[in-house]
């Protein structure tokens, strides 16, 4: 990893964490409406993967999409305003947390449908291949989504057509309150890659260096026309499934405790400094700048107007 990547990753990790912590806070005050699923705790995945991407690469995302958006370069002000349902939001306030998107940035949308991203990613991959670009598509999805039929169809299609799609599973041990160990017949998600004749790897999703490396390999292969890869990142979410969840299903011991105790940002700060990819000073600066950016985003969102009433009727047809 080069220094600039490390700094970029550390910055995005902090942006995501602070963004989510703040949304958590504001949500409980009642200022943010609707269903919000926070990404805090899983930052290493989105950043470790997206560090390899440019604006012409695509990602598909999930209901837990804020982290993917930030890592893919979406505007923080526009994101926060969207979550507040304001006119200045990335989707003019019409999408909300579960539908933030910015196609210009290659972000094909958070998705309220679990498993909804697989086919879309295949389509973007088909497009990249058809147009003979070397651009890739990353399809983020959860352990729970891996039990939808779209997972199967998506991975099979990507494989037979050798598409430049990287399937990144964020295995945070649960789909809502249901443990992956119960819901999936296979012990790991990675081992399912056999059924699709594609490489499958399982990495420590709390360790951004590991994620970065495996994602890098997979993305390079994809850019070279060598087809898709399945990467499973073992991770854990800091908050409940959605805001308001009591989380009684979480265990306080064993693997879960281990995962809960691992903070991917702290870990990476230490690693990066040890590896001379970042100085203490740089880390502090990045952290401070994040705080300011998120504060500004919140202020922007709060001060923005609601959508015009006529907006209700717009954007249905092209």
């Amino acid at each position: 990893m080069e220094k600039k990547d490390a700094l970029w990753i550390y910055e995005k990790m902090n942006d995501i964490r602070l963004f989510e912590d703040k949304v958590h806070e504001i949500f409980s005050s009642g200022e943010i409406p609707g269903f919000v699923h926070l990404y805090a705790g899983e930052e290493a995945v989105a950043t470790g993967v997206c560090a390899h991407l440019n604006d012409n690469d695509y990602i598909t995302s999930t209901h837990r999409g804020h982290g993917h958006c930030i890592a893919k370069g979406c505007d923080l002000n526009g994101m926060m305003a969207e979550i507040f349902g304001k006119e200045t939001g990335l989707c003019k306030g019409k999408g909300g947390s579960m539908h933030i998107a910015d196609i210009d940035k290659g972000m094909l949308g958070a998705n309220g449908m679990v498993g909804g991203g697989f086919p879309l990613a295949v389509g973007a991959g088909l497009r990249n291949k058809y147009l003979k670009t070397d651009n890739v598509v990353v399809c983020f999805f959860g352990d729970g989504a891996a039990n939808e039929g779209t997972f199967h169809e998506g991975l099979n299609l990507a494989s037979i057509w050798k598409l430049p799609v990287i399937f990144v599973c964020e295995n945070n041990m649960f789909g809502e309150a249901t443990p992956q160990a119960y819901a999936s017949a296979s012990k790991t998600i990675a081992e399912r890659s056999v059924a699709y004749n594609m490489p499958g790897v399982r990495v420590d999703g709390k360790n951004v260096l590991e994620v970065y490396e495996e994602a890098g390999n997979a993305i390079e292969r994809a850019r070279n026309g060598e087809g898709p890869t399945l990467i499973e990142c073992v991770t854990y979410r800091n908050y409940g499934h959605f805001e308001g969840d009591e989380q009684k299903y979480k265990a306080k011991d064993g693997t879960e405790k281990e995962l809960a105790d691992k903070d991917c940002i702290t870990i990476f700060r230490k690693q990066a400094i040890e590896l001379n990819l970042m100085t203490e000073n740089e880390a502090d600066e990045i952290e401070k700048a994040s705080v300011e950016r998120i504060q500004a985003a919140i202020q922007f969102a709060k001060e923005s107007p609601l959508p015009r009433p006529e907006a209700l009727y717009e954007d249905v047809y092209a």
């Binding site: 309150a177 443990p179 299903y249």
Partner: protein, 345 residues
């Protein structure tokens, strides 16, 4: 009978009673127990469904009858069809009716057609519980109202309760029904309280209820729209217009007799339906009534529906999206102009 409970509790009670009365009744769905499969919870549910509707049931009936499913709507909904065809009486939950696209084949092409295709030799006694409706800031993919699409399918019955009493009685009827019944709840009504008797009773599927008698205008409402209809009735009463309010309750097959009987008396009809405006239950009612009560209508039948758009997220837009009393009154104005002036004459 003064006990008041929420819609949520009424639905929960119906499930509980149905399970107690008939061992063949099983529940399936995502997190309807919720975490019951986690070791330290010892078979106790953490959630009881995302809205808490199935709370307490796994503790009482066990994970064999309150079955958490993986996120596999086609799989478990189709499994419900298979279990129903072989003798159980499953009550699967589709967490939001918006997820219908993930399991539509099991309803459209399998469950609803089996009996017919098999020459009457299959019975599919199954109740699909789901919810619909905007107003919870849940945005485009969690706020739609698709009971009209489901109601267009032969072989399916569709029920949309508006209040705790009917919800409990209709759900018990649905579970006893030998057909696929879709029981579609409005997610914004879960907290609504109303009088509900303890114990077992049923409300007949296919019958609408006249909630308030009137002579000048009939308003047929679906689900939550009842409260819009009642507000309209109140406000029009002040202007001397007498409104008959009918709560449809069953949208497929809907109660033609009750509706047409009313229109023959009032000569005017407005239907309020939160679905998108085309090919929905409201237009079905309008077309049937415009035909069968043609000679009785003093004004065109009016439909007040959601606009032809997805559900927007922003609070102000979402409010505009849902039919409300002002919109109905505006439409009513056109068809009862003469009536309103009556008091002035």
């Amino acid at each position: 009978m003064t006990r008041k409970i929420t819609m949520m509790k009424a639905i929960n009670e119906a499930l509980d009673i149905a399970m107690e009365r008939d061992e063949k009744v099983i529940l399936l769905g995502e997190d309807i127990a919720g975490g019951a499969t986690v070791e330290h919870l010892n078979g106790k549910g953490a959630w009881g469904g995302v809205f808490g509707l199935t709370k307490g049931l796994v503790e009482k009936y066990g994970t064999e009858r309150v079955i958490d499913t993986p996120i596999s709507e086609m799989g478990y909904m189709g499994a419900a069809v298979g279990a129903a065809a072989t003798g159980l009486r499953p009550v699967p939950e589709l967490m939001f009716n918006d997820f219908i696209g993930f399991c539509f084949d099991t309803i459209l092409a399998q469950g609803s057609k089996m009996r017919y295709m098999f020459g009457g030799k299959a019975t599919i006694p199954m109740t699909i519980r789901t919810n619909h409706g905007a107003g919870a800031s849940a945005a485009a993919q969690h706020s739609g109202s698709y009971y009209g699409i489901l109601g267009s399918i032969p072989g399916i019955k569709v029920v949309v309760p508006s209040n705790p009493y009917d919800a409990k009685g209709l759900l018990l009827s649905a579970i006893e029904d030998d057909n696929i019944v879709v029981f579609s709840e409005d997610k914004t009504l879960y907290g609504l309280k109303g009088e509900v008797p303890e114990g077992y009773y049923t409300v007949e599927i296919g019958k609408a209820k006249v909630k308030r008698e009137g002579t000048d205008l009939t308003i047929v409402s679906i689900g939550k729209m009842l409260y819009v209809a009642e507000e309209v009735a109140d406000r029009l009463a002040e202007e001397g217009v007498s409104v008959e309010v009918i709560d449809l309750l069953t949208v497929a097959p809907w109660d033609q007799e009750t509706v047409i009987h009313s229109v023959k008396k009032t000569n005017r009809l407005i239907v309020i339906d939160e679905s998108n405006p085309h090919n929905n239950t409201a237009t079905d009612i309008a077309s049937v009534v415009s035909d069968k009560a043609f000679d009785y209508l003093d004004a065109p039948v009016k439909c007040v529906c959601a606009p032809n758009t997805p559900v927007p997220f922003a609070k102000n837009l979402e409010e505009l999206y849902i039919p409300n009393a002002d919109k109905v009154l505006k439409v009513a104005d056109d068809i009862i102009f003469d009536l309103k002036n009556r008091t002035l004459v």
